[in-house]
């Protein structure tokens, strides 16, 4: 008999793997082992996982197989996932990739991860990220930069995977896990998804509980997911959303079946194209891809409408007042007293100052100081209050635009992945999030879908923006892009050590 070609289980999408598990044609232990082997072979090069919970993963997989055997499978039974180190996981190292939390093992579980385990998912380990989620390249991690599995055609130069959820994006693109949790304060899910050819969803502010997520800027932070397909995201998203009494900003809103919503047509859907997103100096390739995206929607029977967001250009500077202000206040808790690093000093104040000087990296210090400055006496009105007023105008722009359209289509990033150490200037780095930040400022849901490759062979994403709590329409629109652009393979496995 001719040998049938055996596919590696890591090549399955989350949807395919879930279906194979539930039909018992694949065991969770085999699936989990395959992913652990992929991590063992390639993580040294990519630095996506900073902690692999091997024994826990196998124990969870065995438990899942037993449940499937008993006919008690839950929605994500046996599906191996990676968890951004921002999410507190009980008894498992959770540090937001900061030295100030080195060795921290929370005695509690974040609501988002608890919901995943309650749905049967398997934890492979913790994923790399920018320290305290502050960054757009994953270079500010105390555990070293994470590397993008993508390289430009014929080049060996190491590229960033984007940030702050760089580890999540790289791990999903490299097939180290079927999906990953991520978080997005100003674009930290969508920007790395775009740079690695993966799908990233930031749901509406309040959709997911922030309880047990290490806080960066509380009025902007939101949990979400990175996967390889839109459907995979819809499946994971359904499990992590929902009201949580432990987070007073969590919304008591019903969670629809996002997966089922993907089957509906987009005929007659009104797709808005915000004219202010046409920035001078945006690469011709990005402009062309955006045009192509508009054509895809026309072909699918959607109606394209130009909309205006007059204050869009002020979103980024306002964000770099509000986010550091909230960060300076949230990060005041790291003082060397109750948990984490302590550096001894001459007195209590000296201990605080030495601990925080040694525990925080350069970008985090810069933002804490910026935040302290804009909140300090004499500057509060000029900076912080002004930025919050501008934020009102940004939100009003979106409210007005959404009277005429159901969803908006924009580029996710100004360009493709850049080289490690290439961007040194903070303002230049901040400009990466110019297209994603306005969505956080208005609390809206956003999605990045891989849409094409540059001339040099690097992925670019298109962003969809939804109405509050209308992730279903946004995902349905995302399916149009994926259907037209096709699923993205990662470049052939240069990162894996050859098997002995």
């Amino acid at each position: 008999m001719p040998k049938t070609k055996t596919t590696n289980p890591t090549d399955l999408t989350l949807t395919e793997a879930r279906d194979a598990l539930q039909s018992k044609s694949l065991s969770s232990v085999d699936l989990t082992r395959a992913h652990l082997e992929a991590i063992a072979a390639g993580n040294e090069q990519l630095n996506a996982f900073i902690e692999v919970t091997l024994e826990k993963a196998l124990a969870m997989a065995e438990e899942s197989d037993a449940r499937i055997g008993r006919g008690e499978a839950r929605p994500l039974e046996g599906v191996p996932l990676g968890i951004k180190d921002l999410f507190c996981t009980r008894d498992v190292h959770s540090t937001a990739c900061s030295n100030i939390l080195k060795g921290f093992q929370p005695p509690y579980e974040s609501t988002v991860t608890q919901k995943l385990w309650d749905s049967g998912a398997v934890m492979l380990g913790k994923l790399n990220m920018d320290e305290f989620a502050m960054g757009s390249s994953n270079e500010s991690s105390a555990r070293g930069p994470c590397v993008n599995p993508w390289r430009a055609k014929g080049k060996r130069k190491k590229l960033v995977p984007g940030g702050s959820s760089g580890g999540s994006a790289a791990a999903v693109a490299a097939r180290f896990c079927l999906g990953a949790t991520a978080s997005d304060t100003g674009g930290s899910i969508r920007q790395p998804a775009a740079l690695t050819g993966t799908v990233g969803v930031k749901p509406t502010y309040g959709r997911c509980s922030r309880w047990g997520m290490v806080a960066f800027a509380s009025s902007l932070d939101q949990a979400g997911v990175i996967t390889r397909t839109v459907k995979d995201s819809a499946i994971l998203l359904r499990e992590i959303c929902g009201h949580d009494p432990k987070d007073s900003t969590s919304a008591p809103v019903d969670v629809p079946d996002f997966e089922a919503a993907l089957d509906e047509t987009v005929k007659g859907l009104r797709v808005g194209v915000p004219k202010e997103y046409r920035l001078d100096g945006m690469s011709a390739e990005m402009v062309a891809l955006w045009e192509k995206g508009i054509e895809w929607f026309r072909d699918a029977g959607a109606e394209i409408k130009e909309v205006s967001l007059p204050h869009m250009r002020y979103a980024l500077p306002a964000y770099y007042i509000i986010a550091p202000a909230e960060a300076s206040s949230n990060l005041a808790r790291y003082d060397g007293v109750r948990y984490g690093l302590r550096v001894d000093g001459n007195d209590l104040i000296d201990m605080y100052e030495r601990t925080r000087a040694e525990g925080f990296g350069a970008e985090v210090k810069r933002r804490i100081l910026m935040g302290t400055y804009v909140l300090s006496a004499g500057y509060y009105d000029a900076y912080y209050l002004k930025a919050q007023k501008v934020r009102t105008l940004i939100k009003q722009d979106f409210d007005t635009a959404f009277e005429d359209v159901d969803v908006m289509l924009t580029p996710t990033t100004p360009g493709p992945a850049f080289g490690i150490n290439e961007k040194q200037d903070p303002v230049e780095m901040y400009l990466n999030d110019i297209f994603t930040v306005p969505i956080n400022m208005a609390g809206l849901p956003g999605l990045s879908v891989p849409a094409g490759l540059t001339e040099s062979g690097l992925p670019l994403g298109l962003q969809l923006i939804g109405r509050p709590y209308d992730e279903a329409t946004m995902l349905r629109a995302g399916q149009v892009i994926e259907d037209a652009a096709g699923m993205f393979p990662a470049p052939r496995n240069w990162w894996a050590k050859s098997k002995a």
């Binding site: 060795g103 093992q105 929370p106 005695p107 509690y108 509406t204 502010y205 309040g206 009025s219 009494p245 007073s248 900003t249 919304a251 204050h311 002020y314 500077p317 770099y320 007042i321 300076s328 003082d335 060397g336 007293v337 109750r338 948990y339 984490g340 690093l341 302590r342 000093g345 001459n346 007195d347 209590l348 104040i349 201990m351 100052e353 925080r356 000087a357 925080f360 210090k365 810069r366 804490i368 100081l369 910026m370 400055y373 300090s376 900076y383 209050l385 002004k386 930025a387 919050q388 007023k389 501008v390 934020r391 009102t392 105008l393 939100k395 200037d425 903070p426 303002v427 609390g443 509050p468």
Partner: protein, 95 residues
């Protein structure tokens, strides 16, 4: 807005972060550049605009005033750098 070294030192003190000479010089330059860039917000007319204080139209929930967690002293102390007899230990605060 030009930030000088004295201002950098003042805000570092407020933020409880010790900074060295070279670090102060870098921060002087970087914070000035960031503030110059955010100064473009001055172009926006915000007269009669209320600041955004919460996102989404949620009113904050109420609950009865009762203990919902507690009795977990060991959990609370277990990541502490230094403890004694069930307390956090810090350098002497008062003489």
């Amino acid at each position: 807005m030009q930030i000088d070294e004295a201002t950098v030192r003042h805000i570092a003190r407020l933020a409880r972060i010790k900074i060295g000479k070279q670090e102060a010089a870098n921060l002087e330059r970087e914070l000035t550049a960031i503030l110059d860039w955010v100064d473009q917000l001055g172009e926006v007319d915000t007269e009669n605009v209320a600041p955004l204080t919460r996102i989404g139209d949620l009113t904050l929930p109420w609950r009865t005033d009762e203990v919902t967690a507690g009795g977990c002293q060991d959990d609370i102390l277990r990541n502490a750098p230094m403890t004694e007899d069930g307390f956090f230990v810090v350098p002497k605060v008062v003489e």
